[in-house]
Symmetry: D2
Subunit: 178 residues, 4 copies
């Protein structure tokens, strides 16, 4: 059976010692604990944090971190990416991260993250945002990006809640109960 692929998006510039970094790292660890494949943009900040967290999971297996890079050069990825997808498509690679995901989770985030949330909304992906993480995640929590969908961006308050909801919408395929 194919494993679920979860895209984690967020700012590429948060420093390693920040609260958001710790949050993203913890998210990565918990996603790996639950056997999800993690997709990200492969660079620094939240992308590095989530991959680093995956590596700290006891359930980690090689191949669980996929970095979808803007450059043609694979060596631009962060050190915690296992599989390096070098697109050479610049920021247009955001479409690939989102289209490849079964669900999208955002932490904080600026304009890059906003473009990813916009694509996710258009591609009818389930979107979860950490509601107290600042940036566009906080601004868009519990809202609709436009009227093309009836559901909302799901606001979650903790990493545990992320796992709980992913379990419901993906594993149990139980969207109606949300």
């Amino acid at each position: 059976m194919r494993k679920f692929q979860i895209a984690v998006v967020g700012s590429g510039t948060i420093p390693d010692n920040s609260e958001e970094y710790q949050l993203a790292k913890n998210l990565g660890k918990c996603l790996a604990d639950n056997d999800f494949i993690i997709l990200c943009g492969g660079l620094g900040g939240a992308m590095k944090a989530v991959c680093e967290g995956v590596k700290e999971s006891e359930h980690y297996v090689y191949g669980q971190t996929i970095g979808i890079l803007p450059e043609l050069d694979k060596s631009t990825s962060n050190a915690f990416v296992d599989v390096q997808i070098a697109t050479g498509m610049s920021k247009a690679r955001n479409q690939i991260i989102i289209a490849s995901a079964d669900a999208v989770i955002a932490i904080s985030g600026g304009a890059g993250t906003l473009s990813e949330l916009s694509f996710a909304w258009q591609l009818k992906k389930k979107i979860l945002v950490l509601e107290n993480s600042g940036g566009w995640s906080e601004k868009l929590a519990n809202s609709r990006i436009d009227n093309s969908r009836d559901d909302k961006i799901i606001a979650v308050s903790s990493v545990d809640e992320v796992i709980d909801i992913l379990e419901k919408i993906l594993v149990l395929n139980d969207i109606n109960r949300l």
Copy 2:
């Protein structure tokens, strides 16, 4: 001398008899009157409106409307597009519309427009939004998408003001006076 290329972005689903359609059409006409090349996504709604407007300008010359299409098939463009750029890149073509522009103007707009405004912000393009047109144009008027830039999304209240500001920032290259 190379002409300026202006990207116009907005909802692909506004009906032909709507106020926004008329506004976008008027914008297209005025841009053409002032010898700008118009870039858009090549499909319907605001994209069609702006191209239709261009054709009503007395200064219109063939090649003034460029449609940058999501599909591989050129024939998916609206009837008012002169030059059909068939990307086959789906929504990732939004990056191309923005990167090719000297300035970006938004009218109303949903998630697709929001992805374009996000790219425009990241690529340091000057962004003008019609402030009373609803959608993401209205929501983002006079704001910053993130802290990576000091300037703001410029809110304009009329098509005449669009032309006036483009004149200042492009033709006179007089950003400081804004």
Copy 3:
């Protein structure tokens, strides 16, 4: 009525004083004389030559040279490109050049040109190659790239013959007589 869009592909490294450069320039001039829109990769070598030739046509109008660039930065285009399409898609922009064309003409060419001819074959575009220009144009003249099509890559011996054939297959839509 929409004008036909002709992609011209060839080596980006031929020097300005070479025979191929002169040939590509002459091709550009003749295409412009016949009111075609010229698409190319927007960089140097054959791409610059063909755009330079367009500008020497008495029928030239602004917008007749379209450069579809690999970079995000418009200023990477050659000086003879009117409309700069900045894709940020690296070599993947070759798909866009081909998909946007009503017919493809190749002069000489290395690996980049070969990728464009491969795309053109797959996208069912009419392909003309200058048979004595060397490179992949010469190697593929009068051949099929694979068995997915019944027709062949059309070998032409002069710029005049290019115009003659384009006239037949596009303007007269008279493919059967070839």
Copy 4:
């Protein structure tokens, strides 16, 4: 330590009971036996064969088959792909397959494979072709696509030789001995 990523390219239309299919399947198995990650276009024919072969290896671990798809829809992948990368970039996704690879192996192949070999040549990737497999692999064996490189496309006569050469050029990084 990061595992090597090997792109396998070839015709998408070879039937399941053909000799080429068996060859590609055997190649997939041997690559997996040697702990390589396999990248492919994710669709049918040689792409399916190589992924199916991977699954028959005793060393197979989940995540060893990566399918880089032309469509936005993940479900277009073949059944043996573990990680589905949905690009929405049509044939331009060929750039991503190649840029992400440490080495490229071709079996037979038509125009699609030829575009991949062209990209691989431009991106300075080591290219191996199965010399008796027909198609463009056979035509380009022991040749140069253009003069931008001094080395040649490496012709191999068996799957064992593929593994042997990959071992030398990647694992031992011993390019000079080839």
